[in-house]
């Protein structure tokens, strides 16, 4: 169910805001609120951001707070982590998370582990953010999803917003968190408008890290997802509703810590589980959800094995027909639901 522009029946004073604008607002508000917050990355300042997320911020805050870096991921990520160890609060942008692989040692070994190794004497209040996962036609080296990679590591927090409310609230929460947070955005969502309530528009609106949101309630099957596929789940749910199948759609919002309790409560109610993600299947987010469901009370309430819908287990091809069949589509979700319901 894609939110549409124009007149809607909605709460008073709610407005349509794109994910891009929501992120921009979050950065603006946090830069204003705390002078230790600063943004660095490639093209974030004078270019207004490769994807225009930081539009207008360099003009407003200047060179000290919004810093253009050379193309040196390992170097500038390490510099950002070092600055965080002395209690600056950097927001380190990766133009896409594919490039974070060059800097991943600094994210894991320098940022994630330092609080533990120092027995809690050094905190690293840094946010790593940028677009993650598949885009459109950018091929294998620019389409990887890193949710499982970063979600694997203790010491990190990992969040994955879907809606504008998610994006703004999670970015603000991440910046205010005293720990390293990886925020996995999605390029294809940047231009998508979502309704933002009056409450969500406030300068202190936070979405707590580690809590999932039930986007749509249902009784027959639980659909769990994160990022863009949440939208696909809602579309699938709308189609299935016409056939009398009521899906409960859960937006994970956080990969680590993961709110498995919300998923468990839902499975206890619906007795069926389908996980949906853009990343590869092996060792993925869905695999983790299934393992945890097996270990918990919800296992006894499953009437059928849980099913995973994921990206295809190949590097991303370029040709449109191939690419389209490498990402989970609405039809794939519908098929999986019917399989698990044995329809």
């Amino acid at each position: 169910l894609q939110p549409r522009r124009g007149i809607r029946l909605s709460a008073p004073a709610a407005i349509q805001v794109t994910v891009r604008d929501a992120l921009n607002q979050a950065l603006d508000e946090e830069l204003e609120r705390d002078e230790r917050v600063f943004l660095l990355g490639e093209e974030v300042a004078q270019y207004d951001g490769a994807y225009k997320i930081s539009r207008g911020l360099w003009k407003k805050y200047g060179d000290k707070r919004v810093i253009d870096t050379p193309i040196s991921e390992m170097g500038f990520t390490g510099i950002a982590v070092g600055a965080a160890m002395v209690w600056l609060r950097p927001v380190c942008e990766f133009m896409t998370f594919n490039f974070s692989m060059q800097a991943i040692d600094q994210v894991i070994n320098s940022a994630a582990k330092t609080c533990y190794m120092s027995a809690g004497s050094i905190g690293v209040p840094i946010v790593f953010r940028g677009p993650n996962g598949a885009s459109a036609g950018v091929a294998a080296q620019h389409s990887q999803c890193f949710a499982a990679w970063y979600g694997h590591c203790p010491g990190l927090k990992v969040v994955s917003p879907w809606s504008s409310e998610d994006a703004k609230g999670l970015l603000k929460a991440s910046i205010r968190d005293d720990n390293p947070v990886v925020m996995l955005e999605n390029e294809l969502l940047y231009g998508v408008p979502f309704e933002m309530s009056e409450q969500a528009q406030s300068k202190d609106f936070i979405v707590p890290i580690g809590k999932a949101k039930i986007e749509k309630e249902g009784t027959h099957v639980t659909l769990v997802s994160h990022s863009r596929p949440v939208g696909h789940c809602l579309e699938a749910a709308a189609v299935l509703a016409k056939e009398g199948i009521e899906c409960e759609v859960i937006n994970l919002r956080s990969i680590r810590p993961m709110d498995i309790e919300t998923v468990e409560a839902s499975v206890v109610k619906t007795n069926h589980l389908v996980t949906v993600e853009g990343g590869w299947p092996q060792f993925g987010v869905g695999a983790e959800i299934c393992a945890r469901i097996m270990e918990g009370p919800a296992f006894n309430y499953l009437d059928a094995p849980a099913v995973r819908v994921t990206g295809a287990d190949v590097p991303m091809p370029y040709a449109k027909i191939l690419e389209d069949n490498c990402i989970p589509q609405v039809k794939d979700i519908i098929f999986a639901v019917k399989k698990t319901l044995n329809i």
């Binding site: 050379p70 070994n109 809690g120 004497s121 690293v124 010491g155 005293d178």
Partner: protein
């Protein structure tokens, strides 16, 4: 008169870890009878030190250094403490009381002591894994260093870090990944500049790490943004088993910063290191941006305790450095020959140091290991308590910050 002299001597014999006044008093009285009076020593002396090789610099550090008696005794005691602490670590490792990696600093003492003498406690230091000397120089007591090596709860980071991950105020380790500490150090320097408190960051790495790509990325950004960062290459001639000639197309490490001015310094002379570091610190504090120092030094031990250190270099070479360039011997000769101290006095310091190390080792071998509950703690900073999974789903640990 006697009381005054005793008091003066006991002040001198106290170091960062603090010997008891009573003990110092007893030793002081023995010294008093056996040797010259306090009033016989010079209060300071001036020394000629080696000229530094310069890169993109018109002038370098001074070629003379003034050292007071107090400074000399302090440098001597600190270097001797580090020396004996490292040798004790060697012993404990061979007894299997220290496990894992253990990279010893003996031979390189003049580097950390000279650097610390040139900077303020409010400045920042970050280095790699050969870090025990810096950890001590930055203020962590020997007993907490040894207890960290033996993995006890009295260790400076409660046994969570070990040899390569020791921290204290304004000292950021202790880093295990070769070269990764260099961008971190530049980031600390960025924060120094950001906060505007005239602090600088000493960012150390070895001759092996000097070939890491991230270091060159860091040179570029530090110079571009004029970060108050002193890059310091401790060149001990070998990156593990690989000599500098086999690893680097250019072994002029002080020039490898290209557009960054550089100094090559005799790292076995504590005064040379101190004067060069003072010069470099002034350069950074005046807003000129980063500077690079190469300290030519030597490690007596192998790369780590797993490396005997003689397959890639000769015993003769090691022996030659020990006899001709040992930093502690160099300082001792200078002090004695210039009437800054007596041999007996320095021997008394040796005795006090050995005692301190023994007591610290005793603590490090008897202090209990951290409680199992510690396993889950400190995952996050400033976080409400939560549960952490153990080796199976039924084993849970509480995690507090």
């Amino acid at each position: 008169m006697r009381k005054m002299l005793l008091a003066a001597l006991s002040r001198v014999l106290q170091g960062p870890a603090g010997a008891t006044v009573a003990a110092a008093g007893r030793t002081a009285s023995r010294v008093m009878v056996a040797s010259r009076n306090y009033a016989d020593f010079a209060s300071e002396a001036t020394f000629e030190i080696k000229k530094c090789d310069l890169h993109r610099l018109e002038e370098g550090p001074s070629t003379t250094a003034v050292m007071t008696r107090d400074e000399g005794l302090h440098y001597y005691k600190t270097m001797q403490t580090i020396r004996r602490m490292e040798l004790k670590s060697d012993q404990l490792y061979k007894q299997k009381i220290i496990r894992g990696f253990c990279h010893l600093y003996d031979g390189q003492e003049a580097c950390c002591v000279g650097l610390e003498a040139a900077i303020k406690p409010t400045d920042h230091v970050i280095t790699a894994y050969r870090a025990h000397g810096f950890t001590y120089a930055r203020g962590v007591p020997v007993r907490e260093i040894l207890a960290e090596l033996t993995g006890r709860k009295g260790g400076c980071v409660k046994g969570k870090g070990g040899s390569m991950h020791m921290y204290t105020k304004n000292f950021y380790g202790g880093n295990g990944i070769v070269g990764a500490q260099v961008p971190l150090g530049a980031g600390i320097a960025l924060a120094c500049k950001y906060f505007g408190k005239n602090e600088i960051c000493l960012t150390l790495y070895g001759d092996g790490a000097a070939n890491q790509g991230q270091i060159f990325e860091t040179y570029n950004m530090a110079a571009l943004w004029k970060l108050p960062c002193i890059f310091i290459c401790e060149n001990n001639r070998y990156g593990m088993g690989t000599s500098v000639e086999r690893a680097a197309a250019s072994t002029d490490y002080y020039k490898r910063g290209d557009f960054i001015p550089g100094l090559r310094v005799d790292g076995m002379d504590v005064l040379c290191v101190r004067e060069a570091a003072k010069f470099a610190a002034e350069h950074c504090r005046s807003g000129k941006g980063p500077i690079l120092m190469e300290l030519q030094t030597y490690r007596y031990h192998g790369h780590s305790m797993s490396d005997p250190g003689i397959s890639y270099r000769t015993r003769e070479e090691i022996q030659e450095v020990r006899s001709k360039s040992d930093p502690i011997t160099l300082l001792k000769d200078r002090m004695v020959n210039n009437n800054l101290a007596s041999i007996e006095e320095l021997k008394e310091i040796d005795v006090a140091v050995r005692k301190e190390i023994e007591e610290a080792a005793q603590f490090a071998t008897t202090d209990p290991e951290p409680p199992l509950e510690e396993l889950g703690n400190h995952i996050y900073f400033n976080e409400p308590p939560f549960e952490v999974r153990g080796p199976n789903q039924w084993i849970r640990y509480k995690s507090v910050s």
